[in-house]
Symmetry: C2
């Protein structure tokens, strides 16, 4: 599932589309471009597939007086992608917007315009924009533990081995694009962590060595690069992924749900960016009781978020365990943070909570 087109494929597919448009024009017919409709209503969830899938039809962008500018912009951006891939360069979404300033009448007036065209091309090519040479602004996560990342030296083309056990209190910072990375590891699992604070505690006490795992700090809702990194590492090395976040609607429905099955408004790329093998380790509402954790009251907005999820989120609707957990949280009116274990003792999370939870998969959530 993490398979993606090679560089050669991207360029040749771009050429196929361009040639078709060119041929249609020289035949004095109206050229058109086909792309899937990207919208929340076009999403379904099947756990066997593992991510939110598009179910809708394609839209066709035919060259007319009213579409001429967007049509030209789409072709110009496809050309930019071809150049990037051929020269092994990259451009951020923001840079692509600025590049368009040289396109005369076809230039974008603001970035949302150019982002939409980029999303269209991404969907049309059924690939992710990193494959097209377009990288996100934001960085990926931080990594430490039993993992060697193999990168390519951009000058010499030689492999570089990055040993993530050798960074002391620091970490390996995942690049904006991870498609070219390879991995070596004997780790037993990946532990994806919500906060930098919890990550730093596990790192300080070399939890990765005790548990033989790879630690990844997501820093809130994981970026595309972070999600893709976890996915590729989990696929290539056949590693299970356990997720450790705050026990609140944001941790459950934004961070974990997005990591595992993707999001609704970017459904055309979920197949590359989801991590279907992810399991939710904690902090669950039941953990609040089992571990006697100090809590905070659930806010009205938290309760609303849960009710929205129950009503509209295909992922929650599919999983009875999640409905039960969310109902339990709402009836307790409590949320909990991953650092709450410090109330017992600073390293309780390392010495007691994580080892116990890892031995009890029946306490996890799907």
């Amino acid at each position: 599932m993490s398979e993606k087109p090679s560089k050669k494929d991207v360029v040749s597919e771009l050429k196929v589309v361009a040639k078709e448009v060119y041929g249609t024009i020289t035949d004095k017919k109206l050229p058109s471009l086909n792309m899937p409709i990207r919208a929340l209503q076009n999403v379904k969830y099947d756990p066997k597939v593992g991510f939110f899938e598009l179910v809708g039809k394609n839209k066709e962008r035919t060259l007319t007086a009213s579409t001429v500018k967007t049509f030209a912009q789409t072709l110009m951006m496809m050309n930019e992608s071809k150049k990037l891939v051929e020269t092994d360069d990259i451009a951020t979404k923001r840079e692509v917007y600025y590049i368009s300033k040289n396109w005369g009448e076809a230039r974008f007036l603001d970035q949302p315009e150019s982002d939409t065209v980029m999303d269209d091309i991404e969907a049309m090519m059924m690939t992710n924009r990193e494959q097209l040479g377009f990288i996100p602004e934001e960085k990926g996560g931080d990594v430490a533990g039993e993992l060697v990342v193999i990168d390519i030296d951009s000058e010499t083309g030689k492999e570089i081995k990055i040993d993530c056990t050798k960074f002391g209190s620091g970490a390996y910072s995942v690049p904006s694009s991870v498609e070219h990375l390879k991995f070596q590891t004997d780790a037993k699992f990946i532990l994806a962590i919500e906060t930098a604070g919890a990550f730093q505690r596990l790192l300080k006490h070399k939890y990765w060595k005790k548990a033989n795992c790879v630690l990844i700090s997501m820093g809130g809702v994981p970026t595309r690069a972070c999600r893709r990194f976890i996915r590729r590492l989990a696929d290539d090395m056949k590693l299970p992924v356990y997720v450790f976040t705050d026990g609140d609607p944001y941790g459950y429905l934004n961070i974990y749900r997005t990591l595992k099955v993707g999001s609704g408004n970017a459904a055309h790329i979920n197949q590359f960016f989801c991590v279907p093998q992810a399991k939710y380790l904690g902090v669950t509402p039941q953990d609040i009781i089992d571990y006697k954790l100090p809590t905070h009251p659930l806010k009205d907005i938290d309760i609303k978020r849960v009710k929205d999820g129950m009503k509209n989120d295909p992922f929650v609707q599919y999983h009875k365990e999640w409905q039960k957990a969310l109902n339990q949280m709402v009836s307790m009116k409590k949320r909990v943070e991953q650092q709450a274990f410090a109330a017992h003792s600073l390293n309780y999370v390392i010495d007691t909570y994580l080892p116990e939870k890892l031995k009890k998969p029946h306490t996890w959530l799907p």
Copy 2:
């Protein structure tokens, strides 16, 4: 200036304060704690000193019926700090708050309460809280280039050398606390960059090798760890620091100003977290004209931010060059982004802008 107390010093200073309190109590007198008043109005700027300094008087917290809880909390937290330093452990601000749940009546009701006591202790000890074993939630910046970071293995106590030229497209992620790090480098300067996107471009084309420098991605306003890392690296290795941000009030007055001289509301720690040797390389308002850059209109809130800075910011008030630049920006009514150079060509920033600017220090801002 980056000198800081050793572990032994911290513990012995904590003991001195505690013994004094204990002695006063056994003498049947009212014990008190002294700490500087932390407030914007108590700040002055002298470029020879290089950072916002406290000018105000101390406040005294004497044990009375109304201060008894805060007094107890301060002593409990000092005790926590002593334990952390002695066992070489760390706790985030959030964890300290949770630890207090075991302090009975002295427990904190919410985190702002415990953060305030932590700031008080920090100011009282005239050190930074990382020295007291308290680390920030957030991570530091990303680093790549001609630098070897020397960390300590927390298990063996042996040195670990981290070569920042060997991360490929990834980077070294700065830990939450950097006091224990040492450095080796032959680099000529540090380039501190606002956005992950701009950093990734320079990294992709190994700009650090061409320019023989260390690249640091701040990701917006730099965290304490990122600022302290730059400061320690610049001091220890005697490196100049050049700063490259978007050309807007946020880049000038939030990111750059905070990096260079610190902030008003944390004045008691500016001496550790400022980078007085920083120079502002770009993007300046004059660069918009000189490099024919595409711009965005300045918003009302941007103009307000500039006027506030002119009126209230001791840093702006001291530097005529900054006043001139800010006035120029306001009269042009334009702001510019560091990725705007892509309008010329994707690597214009590497091939033309940065090399030219580095040769023209008279175009920089102080």
